[in-house]
Symmetry: C2
Subunit: 279 residues, 2 copies
């Protein structure tokens, strides 16, 4: 990679671990460092054998790095902007992989020194699973990666090429639009899945059909990640919850009326949307 | 199968076709008949090569049958009780595969002659796919089949053995309890999936992550099947929609408050429920 000799990964979990593995596979000569926030975490990361250069000192991990990846929950990303700031070399590129972007962008603007470049990234390939043990080098292949910084800077072109070299399709989009879209296609769906799990009485669980298992799969998603996403995108999510309740009430009204015609119309429209979705 | 020499399948689609294939595999000497409601349907069924004895006359299909399977949408099942009544032989067993049961049970009681036995069945292994072309002989293997008639009659024991011989686990349950459970684990989830598909703007669809695809998979389910299910179980479903909206509003309230603690609690509870669900 042009100009990228040392990469520091802060947050070697499912996403960060997968990125480390993908990068090492594609660029075996890059110097890849991973930060371990505790001795316990160091032991775990050593066992996982994803990154060789592991260190408990954030300073040693990020200093001299040309690229720092913050693969952390959203609030931690914002905290770590401050933590890493004193140690960053001039011209370093910082990226994150967070699922909400406006607040992160603001925090980056106010916390990071002017001598570095922040490029917000969101690869659309998460998992309800957590931890480096589930990481896989092919995670980003054939996925979308949304970049929420301007496409014009040299740094964003470098990052675009990095994602593309790992098989991702890059789309530039502003942070506000990103958060609106993600609220609709991911954040609301997670709330629906969590709520559905909550709704089903324990004694019914043994009858769960495959469809219910599909709908509740992401209700296993970790609270540590999702409380942050929800709180940093709450305006959009509240709007989406309200909109969704409105749709549920059209079903309720059609049922109360006993209107086959209305229900049929609603279902046929959903069928048509599903067709577009599965294209 | 003891006492079952001729089986008539009315509704040779995904469920009925799969049952035909499973039965023919397990009991190759049984005389299996399929009803074709139109010439067009006859041509299609001939092409599918699932059942050899196909006939446009419902009389010829059901007369002398020891077992008649109504594998139709719920309202059609209720209609066909009347259609087949004049032709049923004494002692014949009639089963259905419908997803709501109370209304069907009532219709069976009022429409079928006293000389036959109706046993309500609901194998929990549907699909969003429709049509005999998708049928598969292993569909019922390792699935639950709920039987909503009393377990005491000879006929229900015969039907229990039939399902078990195809690999299904049979549970006897009354129709009212069945409908309450199914509203929660299947009917509400379908409404959520239809509603979610409706909610996502077209221009966002290209970004759909795998999680959204899982949640909207069953929004491809056919209106012909689901309007009937919804309308024949509407009291339970309305109650479930209302309960679900309440849960959504707890998320909305936690977001409005910006309460990390509350959101964390909600998500951890959903996580715990998911663990039970995936056991």
């Amino acid at each position: 990679m042009k100009g990228i000799k040392k990469i520091a990964i802060v947050g070697v979990g499912f996403m960060g671990g997968s990125l480390a593995r993908a990068v090492l596979k594609k660029f075996p000569r890059v110097s890849l460092w991973g930060y371990a926030r505790s001795k316990k975490s160091l032991t775990r990361l050593r066992k996982a054998r994803v990154i060789k250069k592991l260190d408990l000192s954030i300073e040693r991990v990020v200093k001299d790095a040309d690229l720092i990846v913050l693969a952390l929950p959203v609030r931690k990303i914002m905290e770590y902007f401050k933590v890493i700031s004193p140690f960053l070399k001039k011209g370093a590129i910082i990226i994150d992989l967070g699922s909400s972007k406006s607040k992160i962008q603001k925090a980056a603007n106010s916390s990071l020194p002017k001598s570095v470049k922040f490029i917000g990234c969101h690869p659309l390939c998460g998992s309800e699973k957590k931890g480096v043990e589930f990481s896989k080098p092919e995670l980003y292949n054939d996925s979308f990666c949304l970049i929420t910084s301007s496409s014009k800077s040299k740094a964003s072109q470098t990052i675009k090429k990095l994602w593309e070299s790992l098989g991702a399709k890059v789309i530039f989009i502003n942070a506000q639009t990103h958060d609106k879209i993600l609220s609709s296609i991911s954040h609301l769906p997670h709330i629906l899945s969590f709520s559905l799990s909550k709704h089903i009485p324990d004694s019914y669980l043994k009858f769960a059909p495959a469809s219910l298992k599909d709908l509740t799969r992401i209700s296993a998603s970790p609270a540590s990640v999702w409380t942050d996403i929800f709180l940093t995108n709450k305006k959009n999510i509240i709007k989406d919850i309200k909109g969704f309740i409105k749709i549920l009430k059209t079903y309720q009204a059609s049922l109360e009326l006993g209107s086959k015609t209305q229900l049929r119309k609603l279902i046929l429209k959903a069928n048509a949307k599903h067709k577009k979705l599965s294209k």
